[in-house]
């Protein structure tokens, strides 16, 4: 049975991927919003985002709103596919529980 992707499975990164997957495919999410929702520090969030970026799952876009720098994060097509695979892997593990129960009963 396939185990879920370890890059995504880390709790903070999993929540990050879930939040980024919840928005439209073309959407970019504000760094500050992610930090506040996940109750992380700037540094902590940056470390996890870097790991996901290294894996090719997300991309960070730095821009300016007026004179203030803003960072937006978006899921890449590869990241979206990896997250879908992660969910599929979880569902497979859950279904295996049912299969075991059926085997035990027979």
């Amino acid at each position: 049975m396939e185990q879920p992707d370890p890059v995504i499975h880390q709790p903070v990164r999993l929540r990050l991927m879930a939040m980024l997957s919840a928005v439209e495919a073309d959407a970019q999410v504000d760094f500050v919003y992610l930090r506040d929702r996940l109750k992380l520090t700037d540094g902590n969030l940056s470390v996890h985002l870097s790991k996901l970026e290294e894996a090719g799952y997300i991309q960070q876009v730095k821009t300016f709103v007026g004179r203030k720098p803003r960072t937006y994060v978006h899921l890449t097509p590869r990241g979206r596919a990896a997250f879908a695979e992660y969910i599929a892997a979880l569902e497979e593990i859950i279904h295996s529980l049912g299969d075991h129960r059926e085997t035990d009963c027979s």
Partner: protein, 192 residues
């Protein structure tokens, strides 16, 4: 890493809940302020309708004018500080704006064509039309709270019209304006 089926089930539920919460929080961006604003406008205008019936049209023209102006300003201001940037979201916002602008135009046209015979009927017509539009928004955006709130206010407005017509303004200030204000406060406190 060996994940048990129970742990996988829990993880999956957590993910789904977080995705639902994220969608709700982002969809509600600005909705809290808009609902609270219109709740306050309804409270003031309906109280005016009840206690100063001769000046009622002024309360409504002024209230709706200020409401539309503040709502548009709020939406424009929000665009700058949006938590999510997306071309599809931007297009959706314009479609929603177009829908409300068209609805207001049609509402005025229908009033002009079939002027309701009394202020009470005119009032009920506008409230139920605005709530009908909110029901459509609720279905369109899959916003259950908006759907339930709009249906509840419609039912309460009809109850006030049929059972307590003499106190309709007071009734709508409390249950209509109160529901909008409460709905906005709920979103602000729970969905952030």
């Amino acid at each position: 890493m060996d994940l048990t089926p129970q742990a996988a089930q829990q993880t999956l539920e957590d993910i789904r809940q977080l995705m639902r919460q994220t969608r709700a929080a982002l969809a509600a961006e600005g909705a809290d302020w808009i609902l609270m604003l219109w709740g306050l406008i309804w409270i003031v205008a309906f109280l005016g309708t009840q206690f100063l019936p001769r000046q009622a049209p002024w309360f409504w023209w002024l209230g709706v004018g200020v409401g539309v102006l503040l709502t548009v300003s709020l939406m424009l201001g929000l665009r700058r500080w949006r938590k999510v940037h997306s071309e599809s979201l931007r297009r959706l916002s314009w479609r929603i704006f177009g829908f409300w602008a068209l609805l207001i135009t049609y509402a005025c046209l229908w009033i002009f064509l079939w002027m309701p015979p009394s202020n009470l009927k005119l009032n009920l017509y506008l409230v139920t039309l605005a709530m009908f539009a909110s029901v459509v928004m609720g279905l369109w955006l899959e916003a259950r709270l908006l759907l339930v709130l709009s249906l509840a206010v419609t039912a309460l407005a009809l109850a006030g019209y049929f059972f307590w017509p003499a106190y309709y303004g007071l009734w709508m200030a409390v249950v209509g304006g109160g529901s909008l204000l409460g709905g906005g406060l709920y979103i602000r406190l729970k969905w952030r």
